[in-house]
Amino acid sequence: MAKDPALRGLTRRALLGRAAMASAALAIGAGFVAAPDAAWALELENIRPETMATLIQMARDIYPHDRVADSFYAVAVKGYDTPEDAPAIEAGIAALNAAAQGAGFDDYLSVGWESDRVAILRTQEASPFFQTIRGGLVTGLYNQKEIWPIFGYQGESYSQGGYLHRGFDDINWL
């Protein structure tokens, strides 16, 4: 499914074979995170795979849409996998894991309930790291055209002649 070049097609078998650990959400291996069924994979050069898996979970917890697949959250944050950004991401996720430990969990990914993860996130809300991730998601997630149909939004309309003959006034329940 993932058309994004950064979500590359490692073969399913290779992926599952290399996956060192599969959390509930993602398979984590050397240099990549992937969907548990290997439908997509994100290869990493700078950020540790565990860190990226946590970041993807954090992104979903910030803007949870149950009908939006993990791959879109992965696309929204994959841009941080650069030599410049990686240290801040590692530090931010380390702080998040520390907060999870402070709340009695092993780490952020091992927190089972969303409400518990959100409570941990609330403690980080004021941090520049949290605000950078949240702010980046506003465009990084919602500006992916591929998710618009999930919300019913139709996007560009000029090439189809606008809505004059395509239902601009078709509401029928008033």
């Binding site: 910030i62 849409h65 506003v138 000029y158 004059l164 601009f168």
Partner: protein, 523 residues
């Protein structure tokens, strides 16, 4: 036929900024045979270039140069470096505008007299009134092709309008329609009718909506009297020992500094950059900036009392389909202090696409309360509140000494504190908007905070007495006879109406005045 004037030609009128004010002034003067050089910071974009995509269009056209903010307004917290939504392009913000075109009401020209002495407000009557402006409004409505004026039909109502209208009628509002819009309901002035595309805020690809970019600017150029220099950023205005302006220094498209001589200069850069240019033009003769003997340059910044109400229903609305703002309720625009505030407001329909909704519905919010709202996007309807805000001396554009732009000039700081009257009006309007949508069957309602300011007004205001403002009844500066202001910064007060029709009417009137004075040798 496009004119080309010499940099040393001191017989030209130089207009800085080519938007609703400057673009119209340039064309109107050119039509009267006056030689005009238009200096415009942005590039040239025509309907084929516009993009049906919110962020891509914003990146293409919006003014994103560094700015700073202060004050208690929520914009300073949500968008500290983006206080306004203004376009940097030939045609200015008339590319992104939505087309709502209403005349001021009689009493709004006399705000000080009508509202009285409101504490912590700097109210003043305009030196002009409805009777004076009526013929100029007629011309402006004809230029923009405003619907429901001059025998032009109204636009058809889209889904968002139908929900809005049903709620409005249910709570007893009567002045409800698809509004007065500078958007063609039928072919007009060589431009086609609205195709209900729904990206009015991104530039109309059909040209159905009026914009100076593809009407006034090219028409002025066709006369052979107008040269538009796009990609040229005005740095300062110069003057001689007699205190008359002599020309404009600007960076050309190659980044080279140029000096265009002028017999008259008009400033039409919208209400942040216009005062900034005057302040950046300070000299030993005018140490506080040009035209600033009153100290009012940059002060009295107004942005309208705004806010939105979005509502989710149990069935689809698909508000994004069709004209973005063709919905109007006028019942609350009267002045009725018994509501707890002076001045009035309109409700207008408003729709944002999903990307902008995510950014603007509740900036900074996260978690399920926020995302479940977006999950209801298809079932959402929306309206905008636009009301009169109080001018305050302390709400102002100043030069930020600590932050410089790419040209080494101090960036503008925009300071704004909501006046208690603004807050009372907004709260009342949120309440009525919620009532309206509840009456139409809404299951959830969002009182959405103001966006970066689209209506920017008042920072070089018009006054009868030179002590109270920057320009006179014709937009001519009190201090310097050959220096004019031609954009929304001349507004003495903001009124409740969207400003562009009034900006255009003032520009047409000003062109008439300037051409007359030039031919009589008075300037």
């Amino acid at each position: 036929m496009v004119a080309k004037f010499d940099l040393n030609d001191d017989g030209v009128v130089v207009i800085v900024g080519s938007g609703a004010g400057g673009g119209v002034l340039a064309n109107e003067l050119a039509q009267k045979g006056v030689k005009v050089v238009s200096i415009e910071a942005g590039g040239r974009y025509l309907p084929d270039d516009y993009i049906n995509d919110e962020w891509a269009s914003f990146q293409q056209l919006a003014w994103t140069d560094m700015r700073t903010t202060s004050g208690n307004w929520r914009v300073a917290q949500d968008f500290p470096n983006l206080p306004t939504w203004i376009v940097k392009a030939v045609g200015g913000t008339s590319i992104h505008w939505a087309g709502a075109s209403l005349r001021f009401q009689d009493h709004e020209w006399k705000a000080r007299t009508t509202y009285g002495n409101i504490p912590d407000a700097n109210l003043l009557d305009w030196p002009i009134d409805s009777a004076e402006m009526a013929p100029w409004y007629d011309k402006a409505e004809a230029k923009l092709g405003v619907t429901r004026t001059g025998g032009r039909e109204g636009l058809p109502g889209n889904n968002n309008f139908k929900v809005f209208e049903a709620g409005a009628r249910a709570i007893g509002y009567e002045d409800v329609s698809t509004g007065h819009m500078g958007i063609n309901s039928a072919e007009y002035d060589g431009r086609m009718s609205c195709q209900q595309t729904g990206f009015c805020f991104q530039g109309c690809k059909w040209g159905a909506k009026w914009s100076a970019a593809y009407t006034d600017v090219p028409r002025g150029e066709e006369t052979g009297n107008l040269e538009v220099r796009s990609g040229c950023f005005a740095l300062r205005i110069e003057h001689d020992d007699a205190g008359r302006v002599t020309g404009v220094v600007y960076l050309d498209a190659e980044g080279k500094q140029q000096r265009q001589k002028a017999k008259l200069v008009s400033v039409a850069c919208n209400s942040i950059e216009s005062p900034r240019l005057l302040l950046n033009s300070a000299s030993s003769m005018f140490p506080d900036g040009l035209a600033n003997s009153s100290g009012q340059v940059g002060r009295n910044y107004m942005r309208h009392t705004t806010g939105s109400v979005y509502a989710v229903f149990d069935k689809p609305v698909r508000m994004w389909r069709g004209t973005t703002m063709a919905g109007y309720i006028g019942d609350e625009r009267r002045n009725d202090p018994s509501r707890g505030f002076v001045g009035g407001f309109e409700f207008e329909t408003l729709s944002l696409g999903l990307p902008f909704m995510a950014a603007f519905l509740d900036p900074g919010a996260w978690g399920r309360e926020f995302t479940s709202a977006l999950d209801g996007y298809e079932n959402m309807a929306g309206l905008w509140i636009v009301g009169e805000d109080m001018p305050r001396e302390t709400n102002r554009v100043t030069l930020n000494p600590d932050v410089k732009d790419a040209n080494g000039l101090p960036v503008p700081n925009v300071h704004f504190d909501d006046h208690p009257n603004d807050e009372a009006m907004r709260d009342y309007a949120y309440g009525k908007g919620a009532e309206l949508y509840r009456a139409a069957g809404a299951t959830r309602i969002f009182p959405t905070p103001p966006y970066p300011s689209t209506h920017n007004l008042g920072t070089n205001r018009m006054s009868e007495n030179p002590r109270d403002g920057v320009v006179n009844r014709y937009g001519q500066s009190h201090d310097i006879p050959n220096l004019f202001v031609s954009d929304g910064s001349q507004f003495t007060t903001g009124a409740a109406e969207n400003p562009t029709l009034t900006i255009v009417a003032l520009a047409i009137r000003q062109a008439d005045h300037i051409a007359g004075e030039l031919s009589k040798g008075n300037i």
